[in-house]
């Protein structure tokens, strides 16, 4: 199952090149420009915006690529490829879990060059720290893949899927600490700050920052990792259930 999904993933190699270009433009153009117009109070909290944003960029890339599995599931639903899937010699739950895991692994693979770029410019972690980062990001990637499959299984057309993806993307990203520190979100509204704190994207970005930039992010709460684990567990189960229902219904 994983091999099947990885082969599909590499069919989109030029699409991935485009996606990486966009991500790098975010880092090397937007982040550098925003760095020059940061308020002094924000600068004293985060240092450089470029360094602040680099871990967020890895999470952005992870989200975009892990979410791609949903697009394929949606397409398979419309083209009735699941008949072939059902003919494979494996249990349905294995099939479903395999889809979720391969979506997560693809996210990790795509995110690797972005994470490496982050390490090159911000600093390298120790081996144990790296393993922790990879483990947490994998948990997040699996959760995102599950979320994507859950949406794909419950939307009948590609347009609806893309609409839902856009809504999820904007709410999850703009209400997280991927683009701005939590103090800035708090000044915009306490409700937004609460949402940002439990947002798994915030947890993953802040964990990398706390490792690479400990002088600015020493108050990282490891409770965030629990939120990521909960997000991953909820959406892996939902996706497994939704995917099994999808192929049984057909």
């Amino acid at each position: 199952m994983v091999e099947h999904d990885f082969r599909n993933f590499f069919r989109y190699k030029w699409w991935l090149v485009g996606l990486i270009s966009m991500n790098l433009a975010d880092l090397f153009v937007s982040a550098l420009v925003y760095n020059t117009i940061l308020k002094l109070s924000v600068r004293s909290e985060i240092g450089s915006y470029f360094n602040f944003f680099a871990p967020g960029l890895a999470v952005t890339g992870l989200f975009a690529s892990a979410f791609m599995i949903g697009r394929e599931v949606n397409m398979e639903r419309r083209r009735e490829v699941h008949h072939y899937m059902l003919s494979l010699p494996m249990a349905r739950w294995e099939l479903a879990i395999g889809r979720v895991l391969s979506g997560g692994l693809r996210g990790m693979m795509y995110m690797s060059p972005l994470l490496l770029t982050c390490f090159i410019f911000v600093g390298f972690p120790t081996v144990w720290q790296l393993l922790l980062i990879l483990a947490v990001l994998f948990l997040l990637a699996v959760g995102i893949s599950g979320l994507s499959i859950s949406i794909a299984a419950s939307t009948s057309s590609l347009e609806k899927f893309i609409t839902a993806r856009g809504a999820v993307y904007y709410v999850l990203f703009f209400c997280s600490t991927v683009f701005y520190p939590i103090q800035v979100i708090q000044s915009a509204g306490p409700a937004l700050a609460t949402l940002a704190e439990i947002n798994p994207l915030s947890g993953a970005s802040d964990m990398i920052r706390s490792i690479l930039l400990p002088q600015f992010f020493k108050n990282f709460s490891y409770l965030s990792i629990l939120y990521i684990a909960a997000f991953s567990a909820i959406f892996t189960s939902t996706a497994t259930f939704a995917y099994m229902k999808l192929i049984e219904r057909a």
Partner: protein, 232 residues
Amino acid sequence: MRAIWFVSQVVLFGVIAANMVSVPDYFQYYVAGLSVMTLYSTAIFIGFDIYEEAEHGVFEYLLSLPVSRRDLVIGRSIGGGLRAFIYVGPLVAISLIVIGAINPLNFAVALFALFLFSFGISGMSIAIAVLIKSSDRFDIFMGVLDAFIVRLSTSMYPLAVIQGTNPIYGWAANFNPLTFAADLFRWGTGIEKIIYIQNPLLSLIGIVAFFGLFTLLGITIYERMIEGGGWR
């Protein structure tokens, strides 16, 4: 879909980012730029229609119509631009209310410039779509182009800031049609604090040149590429 994206960018990114940067009235500045960015990304969509028409045989029907190919491409550019304008119109109206636009005369000039900008983008999208001939490659190319054209423009930050960050970025932003459109739109709102241009005529000339160039390019490329089933 774009309305959801637009609103979430205004109420989440716009509000929060305004607390992070030292640009005065950044919220108003960003919302005005966002309107132009949305217009740009909507006008691009005409390129995808070209592929869909080729796939479904509509292209042959269009070629059979009693209009010259030149008229056809001009019509497509205007149609694509107008469609984007109508689509983004309500969002632009909301953004004007949100930021409190005050000068109707300036705004009429800016609106005219945005029309031309929108036609120019449609012409550009048609020219690229006909040249590339694959919807996947077009999607990728436009994505990459979008990444640089939006970020290297004044739609999100003022020109002086871009120039201060990197002179090459500043140079690129200086000749970017999105910069002309965003600056003119802000000038059109009449809100002093978000106007960074000294001479709006230069931006207007830039947009007219962009519109002329890409309409001409669109016509030339379209005419050459469609002969002998070249759109397939």
